[in-house]
Symmetry: D2
Subunit: 264 residues, 4 copies
């Protein structure tokens, strides 16, 4: 199996300048560490806890920035889609279309993403079992998708809390899809601050190490130069100046763990 | 507080003939029992477990049938919406626009439903706490909705299982919205049959009695003349020939319970 | 099926005077309402959150008081046992030996309680499924118990929270044992106050109504003349001066609900 | 922090011969791999699902065997205690007294174990939060225990299923106690086979790797030369002939992971 790779970026695309700065920094860090990195940002946060939460710069503006990041830094880019009719347009630029966890059972969205011919990354719903994802993979593969990835981001555990069941990673790998661990949203506390979601940033490296030791194709980590000032997911983003150490550690663990994985 | 009312109908609108037959039967039963009934059917099941699951007759055909049901039987009608751009069209006919539980945090859908001026019924996500629904109500009310209702349909409890926390009913009532108990989907076993969802029809009356004793504005029950042959949710629909007894029992319980409810 | 009966009393036996006062008041209230009541108190709280939590007056002193309550008020009495070697002594006086939920899988304790010939009331562990209780019933019945009762008191739901799955009541009734709903501990928030457990007293009547509507043989309610000053379980005990209204409501609901119960 | 060590042995002490064979084999394997190993066996399985489940050879016989294992192989030994009055006797021979998870809130048992002066290993109840264990540690430390260890073995997650929350390991480490990960019982499916518990042996190495990557003082693994014929916990014991590979892998991972742990 290939070495662990990474999906990295801020929660939302805040501005062209911010996205380019982040992409450039992430590219440099990944190169120094010697790992592959895909740039991630959301053009629209469609499920904020509150109506007044910032949602991003919108699809059209974001696609121009994604194109610029691809040509400037030579990075693949990933973003999430929320409406079936957005998929074709987004796919003109973006390499990996991500299906949000809440929408992981919405057939039309899965099919529209599959029809683009781009890679589709389906996040496992907080309300789904790992084995349920075989149905989501089927919907996408039977709609002509070239490649599908599955991402773990925690399961509902009582109220305002998620838990990661690490047995779910090898279980989802049985579908044949590469499995990604989203270390950022797995430590989210949904709705945990009343009008917004909380998070436990200190557990991102902890759970990311666990996932790499279990064996994953990739790790998804949101990062920001100043998380506490970020418009969304601040409580669970990793400060950019801690990213290099974290990637180095995960790379070192992966080098030891991957040969241990059954069937690897 | 008003006597308990009901939202009744088959899971999906299978055909004009079937919907008219069901609406007529339901209307007769409700009249005999002496309770208010809204007719419910889905024109599109957008989140079936499998790609090959039947999805209903589609929006345009369904809206004609809903109009016919309204004029023929004098019943209000309810259906669920999945895309923001469907809301305005659906609202030309349908009295209550229902937001599916998986989509209960999708801001655009909530706002589009609110803009129609119709009543919006938000089902609580299986991944949300009862108090989280205050945020959903805010999104809708601040977008101009006249009336909003909240529906309980179970919370994630381990894998492939839901549990109803009956403390959630008075908790959600604090928002001021009428609270509905969905006795059909609360006994669903999501993904519990591999390629489709299972259910425990025998617990529909059990949980419906509990909800009425706790105190609810309404009960949502899917029904079918032959549930085992229904294209979706068969395992948790109540056979039509058992509906009259169930409604009578719930009406009798409500008459005793409602005066006991704090603040009623 | 018989009308709903009640198990009532303070969490712990604080003193002879307090227990006699409580038993007398409870007996009067039950007689006025016209329901059967068993007196409940614990002589030793063996699993307090903290070492410094008060544990009760001890077995020997308590047994004398239980005997006095039986002869003075003609009430049956119930207490919980924690060690196998206590069972025989406790059974000399106490009518119903209760197995605490945490200990519901401790074979020696179940067998020792069964050997006394007294009624054994097994509380369902917070970590058990309703159908798991068939194994506990077997252990007791196969050890010669005359009568066994099962009590629901909530299931673990994330951290520091319990949820009641009301489908569990008819499920446990399939064993043939009378099913009791413990409305006091079902609203407990275990460890929810750091050094002690919290609770949501306001939901006791809510969940008790639900249980009676579902159909139970009895309801277990802890009560105290001044819960906020009680040495344990204060946050979830019902004030004594609210007990009569609550019992009356539950009796009225039961009269309507019990004939509705399948197989009743 | 010290390298990861291990607690190894069969679920129950089946006979003198079997225990000596297992201890000898385990000692050889641990020496070859170069890790510390404590021998574990239960003299009494006090909470079997069914009355007819085998419970072990009893305390007195077992203590002689433990003494023989200590002198023959120079290994420390661990066993679990279920009754306060057993602690002193067990402590004459056994180095580490283990408190079963179901009994982790039983004050008398914790205190009696603490009074022996031996190390006390408290397994976290399936119904407790990681932070709740600070109360258990307090009970033991304030009763004079020299050393206390905490063991994670999964939390209740719906019915008949456990989940391991790996955030709980660093959370419990805040108490100052060494944290052990029980890879055997974390993959148990309690009551999952009706009259006995099921398990998922294939996930023992998966979760053990995760725990070591997160950072633990030790890993607890039950092993048997023929798990499918073992009298208890067969479905989740690791075959003895796979133990050496597993220990080697965990040692290698630990060497890379431990320096990454915050505060290590």
């Amino acid at each position: 199996a290939a070495p662990v790779s990474f999906i990295l970026g801020p929660c939302q695309m805040e501005s062209r300048g911010h996205a380019l700065m982040m992409a450039g920094q992430i590219k440099e860090i990944a190169d120094r560490v010697g790992v592959q990195a895909v740039f991630k940002a959301s053009y629209d946060k469609a499920n904020r806890t509150s109506l007044s939460g910032k949602r991003g710069i919108g699809m059209d503006a974001a696609l121009e920035v994604f194109a610029e990041i691809k040509s400037t830094f030579g990075m693949a880019v990933l973003t999430d889609v929320h409406e079936p009719h957005h998929c074709a347009t987004v796919a003109e630029v973006v390499d990996i279309l991500q299906i949000p966890a809440f929408l992981s059972r919405q057939t039309d969205l899965l099919v529209a993403a599959a029809h683009t011919g781009r890679v589709v990354n389906i996040k496992k719903g907080q309300f789904l079992a790992p084995w349920d994802m075989a149905n989501a993979v089927s919907k996408v593969v039977n709609s002509g998708a070239r490649d599908v990835m599955l991402t773990e981001r925690g399961a509902s555990f009582g109220y305002n809390t998620l838990v990661t069941d690490f047995r779910g990673l090898p279980e989802m790998a049985r579908t044949g899809a590469p499995v990604i661990f989203d270390a950022t949203h797995s430590v989210q506390q949904p709705g945990g601050q009343g009008g917004s979601s909380g998070g436990q940033r200190e557990y991102v490296p902890v759970l990311a190490r666990a996932a790499v030791a279990v064996g994953v194709a990739g790790v998804f980590i949101e990062t920001h130069e100043n998380p506490d000032a970020a418009p969304s997911d601040g409580p669970n983003m990793v400060p950019l100046d801690q990213l290099e150490t974290l990637l180095s550690q995960l790379k070192a663990l992966d080098a030891v763990a991957k040969p241990m994985i059954a069937g690897a």
